[in-house]
């Protein structure tokens, strides 16, 4: 478990993180105006959003200070399971070519 004292009032760290998230938002806006394929765009946006969310969750929501067991049990499992879910998508790309015979 982390040290008890400095969790609540670490205003400086919070502000830094806040600006980091804002900066990343800037990156997102920039990305949005790039001319890329929507699928690509989605991937990039989600990647950045993921970092933002991680920062917010770690610092603002103090996950950083949470029990080690909790972090060990929960985070890898959830991320892993979500990643696995992407296997569903493998179908969706194929389905594009297999629309019904009727017009």
């Amino acid at each position: 478990m982390s040290t008890p004292a400095n969790t609540n009032d670490n205003l400086k760290a919070d502000i830094i993180v806040y600006f980091a998230i804002l900066a990343l938002f800037g990156v997102q806006v920039a990305l949005a105006y790039q001319n890329v394929h929507p699928a690509q765009l989605l991937v990039r946006m989600l990647a950045v959003a993921f970092i933002q969310a991680a920062l917010a969750v770690m610092y603002f929501m103090h996950l950083r200070n949470e029990q080690r067991n909790l972090r060990l049990a929960l985070i890898p499992a959830t991320i892993f399971v979500m990643l696995m879910m992407n296997m569903i998508w493998s179908d969706s790309f194929r389905l594009l070519h297999m629309r019904p015979l009727f017009k």
Binding site: P4, N8, M45, F60, M61, E66, L70, M85
Partner: protein, 200 residues
């Protein structure tokens, strides 16, 4: 064995033994994330399957709602600090904390109301739940999110109730758990918004 005061109150601020409600909230958030991941997968598969995809212009009010929800996170964080001040004896009473908490609640309610307005706007455009997949997903995602937000509002109400008790009865873990959940609603909303913005 650590013992906590009879009410386990915030005045024993430095007790950092894990509190079930804090663990519980993280576990709950994992489950909620998973549910929304499932919705996202459904959306992606559904889109590639569809010959009926009609891009949907998000009602502009959702951006106002976004601002409201994010602002409510800030006010909640202010609440938390003021409560801590009070618990440490740095603040004379709880009125400031109550004020910020009240603002959070109000902003949250406004958010839900704003979402309702967004639905109304879609309806006036003739887009109902079953009109096309885009509107279906819009309603489902926003409604599911709103349901979770309502849960958060209930939590905040409880915190407010505890905060107003004559004898200070708010446990630190309750405050924390509720506010993590609430912040998560903000994060989740941004996620939902991005997904809808790009995909719908």
């Amino acid at each position: 064995m650590t013992t906590l005061g009879p009410s386990g109150d915030l005045r024993l601020l430095d007790d950092f033994s894990p509190e079930p409600s804090r663990t519980g909230i993280w576990v709950g958030l994992a489950a909620i994330s998973m549910s929304f991941a499932a919705f996202t997968s459904a959306l992606i598969v559904r889109q590639s399957m569809a010959n009926d995809w009609h891009p949907l212009a998000l009602p502009s009010i959702v951006f106002v709602n976004t601002a409201l929800l994010l602002a409510s996170s800030v006010t909640l964080e202010l609440t938390r600090r003021r409560v801590a001040d009070f618990a440490r004896g740095k603040a004379p009473d709880r009125s400031v904390a109550q004020f910020w908490l009240g603002s959070t609640l109000a902003l949250g309610l406004l958010f839900v109301f704003g979402q309702y307005l967004a639905w109304r706007q879609l309806r006036t455009e003739g887009l109902y739940l079953a009109s096309n997949p885009n509107s279906s997903f819009f309603y489902v995602l926003t409604a599911m999110h709103a349901v979770h937000v309502l849960g958060g509002l209930a939590g905040l109400l409880r915190v407010l109730y505890l905060l107003r008790q004559p004898v200070f009865a708010l446990r630190r873990s309750t405050m924390d758990a509720t506010s993590y959940y609430w912040h998560f609603m903000g994060v989740l909303w941004l996620y939902v918004l991005i997904v809808m913005w790009i995909k719908l």
